[in-house]
Symmetry: D2
Subunit: 146 residues, 4 copies
């Protein structure tokens, strides 16, 4: 079986706060980067081209995150799953761990594809949908979804 | 009746993304700043002194946010409410609007007070609790809570 | 004599690094904010409107900074001076201090006004120039310039 | 001859500003990351361990940067050179280019090694110096230094 996508992100010195651990808000940056990295690898497109070439807007409409442990050094390992592929929206689930496999956060990012002119939801384009659905099946089969 | 606390945050040019609106993750930065600003005004303490002087850790344990509209220019107006004061935890609710009063986001930040040595939850200190509970009552009376 | 403009910036918990002081790169964010704040107050325009309404691009072309002391808590006080008003360019000098007046950094930001279509330098517009030149005179008279 | 170190940095959607190009201050973040990446590869240490394990402080004391072109999409390619190895200080020079090889910025970062207790300059440790000097020779031989 194909492996789930794991985004490995070097923790930068400036990502931490005065307590010496990664500042909570940086987790959200890491997740956005992970989603963009997945889209570049699987959909062969980044957020810039979504807007510039496809004229697709991709606003986040809902985000939730539970923080389950501190993250301090080395690389964050962020496993990406797709838990839902709707008509216009996709839900990415992101499991953040440190290099030793300790849980740091669990998040769900719901985003909606829109046209860039009227900002109305549009159906997920045909060249994205099967890839997203395949990855959704892979995610379901992985027993990683929470 | 006392007014709810509103944190007014100048939107910086670097806060926006290539679409020209505030990048979603910056909303979380704005909320953290709003909570810190409230704590400085109401509890007379900032996060640095929480750690340095009181030896209190304040990890966020859960965050959720719904994005309800774009935010682009001027000042973000973030209304802060307290929706729950628990034994060790507090839930802040944050309503983000643009200068014209249009809704941009609605978020809940749950954080937990801990000791800085063993990272175990501690009861909310006596010098914070009544202030938080008063503000919780004010929040309830405001009809703003969602 | 009119006072020099001082931008007072609350240091956020996430601005610091694992050593517990403000991460060097944040100084540059603070300076950009200070310049924008000065322009809003003196020129009655922010960077968004420069681009959107005036069709003026404002790329930084040169920045230098000396770090002279750590910055850790409270508000950064950033004094803004204008050290040169050229045909198309302006040099802002920024003196960063902590709340007790200790020096933290000294920086020069040179930026160039351009048209937004061809990215060529344009003369500083007539509605900005006298204000900039007055402030330049004020800066010279202040004995603060280094 | 050994190649110069090039740090390739994915440009994130949130790194750009309302004009759609990378916000100037992000260049400084990229450079700090490049220096840290070089140190991890060549000195086998990151900034966290510098402080935690070696008790070495590494404050930047001077930074200058010329911006020579916009950076918008794809990966930034940042070539790192060492232009000087002093008693306590090192000067890193960083050449930023876009994926097509167009110049974006040229920067010099001077940093000073200090002890973490008294913040006084210390001689560059013996286990770092020869590596830095070798890389300095490589930089000189590269004809890349400006």
């Amino acid at each position: 079986m194909q492996d789930l996508f794991i985004y490995k992100r070097q923790i930068q010195f400036g990502d931490t706060d005065a307590v010496g651990i990664v500042y909570t808000v940086r987790f959200f940056d890491y997740c956005m980067e992970a989603i963009d990295a997945w889209q570049r690898e699987y959909l062969d497109i980044d957020w810039f081209d979504m807007v510039d070439k496809r004229r697709i807007g991709t606003p986040m409409v809902k985000i939730d995150m539970s923080m389950t442990g501190p993250l301090a050094r080395g690389k964050a390992h962020i496993t990406l799953l797709i838990t839902r592929v709707g008509k216009s929206s996709v839900i990415y689930q992101l499991h953040g761990r440190d290099e030793d496999g300790n849980d740091c956060f669990l998040a769900n990012f719901t985003y909606c594809l829109t046209d860039c002119t009227y900002f109305k939801p549009i159906p997920i384009p045909a060249y994205f949908r099967p890839i997203m659905e395949d990855y959704h099946q892979l995610s379901l089969a992985s027993n990683e979804i929470i």
